[in-house]
Symmetry: C2
Subunit: 398 residues, 2 copies
């Protein structure tokens, strides 16, 4: 698994060509015996593993029959349809999560943070299913599991206890959900999830769709709790649409307050949701990550989990067409995501994990704009995908 490998003419993040050496699964200084194994990366740019910072591995219908979506227009309709689908379609969280992971591995996604449903109907079965897949695929992909109360926590008695159980079972992150519009009690919801995070010594990731000033108020509550509990660098806000709906002064102040507490923001660049001010966010030092959200599920029928395509969506939603801007969206889908979900030893420096995605393109912008699929993926020094196809026998668990 940890064969040494020399990657010649590698262009890290599109920079000038260098030779990169991976020894024992980590980038290493030059020197010593020349490895038997070499790859010529001329014609490619080299990215670190793409970071999927927000998806729902347990809910994809990849490889299942087409789901005819007749779901009503509100979020309540969607949550109900989603819960019903688990039962009626027999969505197997173990199998489905494996399908999505193996599909996106071919595209270079090596790090995934997945929200996984916890509710009073399925209990922690989906958590257990994704844990099983994570274990089976641990040599290929890093998976972080968020215990996510999709159907609401406060209004559905017993959910909090199930969240606690999920954390004990191996979930890595405490998930939160719209503290006002779903939970109906922002303070009590946030206090509950922060206390759970404190109890388990784990980070927090909150789905925050609340709009306008309601969303801004919830952000303030999150900022206050992050500061009070010294959870800087341990909190992510997912979506945060309200940041795209405020006047410029309010927007800037909130973004700076989030940055000061090192609260990361995850945005998918949805074409129909408010556009977040990406340039301002990055310039303010805010950590910005991105993700695919659900792929081919009952919420949204599309999606392939490609984080280069996601970088394109981010640029398109923000009306960005310049090469420099496209390179920024690529950074969001790599280094931004890595910082947001707290990855260690991510990058190309000596001692960093020997992960690499070679994309046939001449610049970062070209890779974002054209999203070529014939990528070569190296994980801890092992070539796992070559020209878009598995280079080794991938586990047959999907």
């Amino acid at each position: 698994m940890t064969e040494d490998i020399l990657i010649r003419n590698a262009r890290p993040m599109g920079a000038a060509p260098v030779d990169l050496l991976i020894r024992g699964g980590r980038f290493s200084a030059a020197g010593g015996d020349r490895p038997a194994r070499e790859i010529d990366a001329a014609g490619f740019i080299a990215l670190p593993g793409l970071v999927e910072a927000h998806t729902h591995l347990d809910k994809t219908l990849i490889g299942m029959d087409w789901f005819e979506n007749r779901v009503g227009p509100t979020r309540d309709h969607r949550i109900l349809a989603d819960r019903n689908a688990k039962r009626e379609l027999g969505i197997d969280a173990r199998r489905q999560s494996a399908r999505q992971i193996l599909q996106t591995l071919k595209l270079g996604v090596l790090h995934i943070r997945s929200h996984v449903d916890v509710d009073t109907e399925i209990g922690i079965a989906n958590i257990e299913g994704v844990l099983e897949t994570r274990e089976a695929l641990r040599d290929l992909v890093d998976v972080q599991i968020v215990a996510f109360p999709q159907s609401g926590m406060l209004p559905r008695e017993g959910t909090f206890e199930l969240m606690d159980e999920a954390m004990k079972a191996g979930a890595d992150i405490v998930g939160g959900i719209d503290p006002a519009t779903i939970e109906r009690d922002p303070v009590r919801h946030l206090d509950a999830i922060f206390s759970l995070a404190e109890r388990h010594g784990k980070p927090i990731d909150i789905h925050l769709h609340e709009l306008g000033e309601l969303g801004a108020f919830c952000l303030e509550l999150i900022i206050e709790r992050t500061r009070a509990l010294s959870m800087q660098g341990k909190v992510m806000v997912s979506h945060g649409y309200c940041l795209g709906m405020l006047d410029a002064a309010r927007q800037k102040a909130l973004i700076e307050a989030l940055a000061a507490e090192r609260i990361a923001v995850m945005t998918v660049g949805s074409p129909s949701a408010p556009a977040l001010p990406l340039r301002l966010m990055r310039q303010s030092g805010l950590v910005v990550a991105s993700g695919s959200d659900g792929i081919q599920g009952t919420w949204e029928p599309w999606g392939n989990g490609d984080m280069l395509e996601r970088a394109k969506y981010l640029a398109q939603r923000n009306g960005m067409t310049n090469d420099a801007d496209l390179a920024e969206t690529m950074r969001i889908c790599t280094f931004g995501g890595a910082e947001g979900i707290g990855l260690a030893r991510y990058g190309f420096a000596e001692g960093d994990h020997g992960d690499l995605v070679l994309v046939p393109a001449s610049t970062l912008a070209e890779a974002v704009a054209l999203t070529p699929h014939k990528r070569t993926v190296i994980r801890r020094g092992q070539v796992v995908v070559r020209d878009g196809e598995p280079a080794t026998n991938l586990p047959d668990i999907a």
Copy 2:
């Protein structure tokens, strides 16, 4: 070229399977000798040729070196960069238009309306280049050419005369451009292009990016002239962002007025421009078409010209996820486009042109959501693309 062919188990627009017979290049009633040639379309849905109602064939950089986009943020910056690029990059309108047409043919695009630049630097050279390509590829694809004053008409003396020359050379449609913000004189601009259209007996297609009430005023001027000159069914408004920026009553009234004069609206569903109210537009009887706009050019670096992907963008921009809505966006990219650009004998009825795109999907919604690429394309009874690859030797002109 007009070999008879029987398509078994065809599912026109996703409907129940039927056998479709093409004789002499047109759909025909059953009966007569069974054709020697047959295709089994089980597992596919059958679409008529996809309709690209708005692109810029002369400006794509497909197959050329990557263009580093450092263009400034305003439309004036972009128009200037675009004009400079023609000269500096040596964009050959004949070759580039052929490249785009052959690329999108593989995806089932059989009808294209292309705006082609006319200006005082290049004169009508791009019109001539695209005319040449159209002639070379006439057996494969229908191409309509709009003489388009990209750099402005009124402010650049001599452009109107070049437009007239372009129409004489073979352009099919008179193009207009923002009558206020670019042309600085809405009435004079519209009077000029309507007079040109009248002189040549040709339709009109106007790029209208004007925002809010300014755009609404321009729409009123267009409606008035369409009515006065009895040009119902001969006018298309491209983009029409203002329709997504008005209060509900004003929006509805304008949409109904457009529908009453049978003025079509083309929208690309841009993620960063105002979203047009697609449901209301269709319910009001407005003809709605769609297109890719520029593909891989100096304006926008991305795009593949796939009209199924375009249907997906339309749905995504409108927050649509239901199967019924996705089917509607597919109709926009087929029958809507056909009506908008005035195609005759488009569809599956007896006597209609024998064109067919087979997409591996179970429903229209699935085709829109997943945009599978292994399509089979039949043009006038001839299989020109099979499973995404050319089935015949395509002309080597790109």
